[in-house]
């Protein structure tokens, strides 16, 4: 979990030599640099996407910058017009209700009651796909979707990047070889 490491290194003054980064920031940087080529051409049926901004990554982690990166990547992958903003969002987003150990703590009814706010805001977008870049969020959003009978697909971001990959070099390689 991003925050666990970030805050852990900071709060307990743990010595380390590496630089700590989020995969989301890297996706965005790689796309901007042209190292990761993606296209939304696959999305012919116009699947609508929205996003769950993870508290630990955004509000408590890297702030709106990473939330903006997240949106940038989704728009590149799914098409500019196929992203639907969710409210509230970014650093002000609702917690999904699964974090903070809630998924493990076992108070299922309370957890789902907590998740109702999340369900309502996601449902209001009418999106077909909810991107959840955090594993806790992923599990919880999937659960509240089925519990409150939503009809979206809850997925990680990488599945869609894979779908949108443009494999120029690779196809050339194929022809040559």
């Amino acid at each position: 979990m991003y925050f666990a490491v970030l805050e852990g290194l900071r709060r307990f003054k743990i010595p380390h030599k590496f630089e700590f980064i989020s995969i989301i920031s890297l996706y965005a940087q790689w796309i901007r640099d042209g190292r990761l080529k993606v296209s939304s051409a696959w999305n012919v049926q116009g699947l609508k996407f929205t996003v769950q901004d993870p508290c630990k990554l955004v509000r408590q982690g890297l702030g709106d910058t990473v939330a903006d990166d997240l949106r940038f990547v989704i728009k590149q992958v799914a098409g500019e017009d196929n992203f639907i903003e969710v409210w509230p969002n970014r650093s002000n987003n609702y917690c999904c209700g699964g974090g903070g150990g809630a998924l493990q703590a076992g108070f299922k009814e309370n957890r789902r009651r907590h998740g109702k706010a999340k369900f309502d805001q996601l449902a209001a977008t009418g999106a077909d796909v909810v991107i959840t870049p955090c594993h806790n969020c992923h599990t919880q959003v999937k659960d509240i979707c089925s519990h409150y009978q939503g009809n979206w697909e809850t997925t990680h971001l990488w599945n869609w990047i894979e779908k949108a990959l443009v494999m120029e070099d690779r196809s050339r390689e194929g022809k040559n070889g």
């Binding site: 990761l36 703590a105 108070f107 990047i161």
Partner: protein
């Protein structure tokens, strides 16, 4: 009726000792947190009532309520609180005040497992085996990806990548898309065969030494591999 013939606030004092900037007293009782918290109303509490219990010294209520596990320490209240009160931090401290045997067993277990290696408790060897097995399968079945890599313990790799324990345990195929992405980008990366889990459930049990232990182990591992960057996937 609350009879206040002498105000004893042991819990509040303990929190303030651990967190000098806890700001419990700052509360204006404005209600902003209540309106912004998805856990308001659960277990008959909300962030403001929770603070009020502390302020008025209702220690038993504070130590007993399970609201502290509905608060996900998401800090949305603190984000907009005019006084910047970090209720999440206070909840964290109170979780830690609970004796271990009274904590939600699965949550504590996740942390205990984490302290051994990862939150699901699969052996490190299994993790290595699953990664290699899945990789082998992709290379065999998908010709375009026959040179896909998933290095483990590659000394001096530029990037270290963590792996959430959920995938190798229950949905191993979910690991593949990221490998492909990293492959296309062409970075030099590696997993580690120990302390590879990106999660850390000890963040939520309330024992800072457990949390620190896991982070320290992860940090040592990455530094030992000599990686310049640690990519966190969540």
């Amino acid at each position: 009726m609350i009879d206040l013939k002498g105000l004893r606030r042991r819990v509040k004092a303990e929190i303030e000792k651990a967190v000098p900037d806890a700001r419990i007293d700052y509360c204006l009782t404005c209600g902003l947190c209540v309106s912004g918290c998805p856990a308001s109303g659960i277990e008959g509490l909300d962030p403001r009532k929770f603070l009020r219990l502390l302020v008025l010294g209702r220690d038993e209520d504070i130590l007993e309520t399970n609201w502290i596990y509905s608060c996900t320490i998401c800090q949305r209240c603190r984000y907009a609180c005019p006084m910047g009160i970090d209720i999440g931090r206070i909840v964290y401290e109170i979780r830690g005040m609970r004796p271990r045997e009274k904590r939600p067993p699965n949550l504590q277990r996740s942390c205990d497992l984490q302290k051994q290696s990862n939150s699901t408790g699969i052996p490190n060897d299994d993790f290595v085996w699953v990664v290699n097995d899945v990789l082998e399968e992709v290379r065999e079945n998908e010709p375009a990806w026959r040179d896909l890599k998933a290095p483990i313990d590659k000394q001096g790799a530029e990037y270290y990548l963590n792996q959430n324990a959920k995938e190798p345990t229950v949905e191993p195929e979910e690991m593949v898309p990221l490998w492909k992405i990293l492959h296309v980008v062409g970075i030099d990366w590696t997993y580690s065969s120990k302390w590879w889990d990106g999660a850390n459930y000890c963040l939520f049990t309330g024992d800072p030494e457990d949390w620190a232990y896991v982070v320290r182990k992860q940090a040592e591992t990455i530094d030992a591999l000599g990686c310049r960057y640690y990519i966190n996937t969540e």
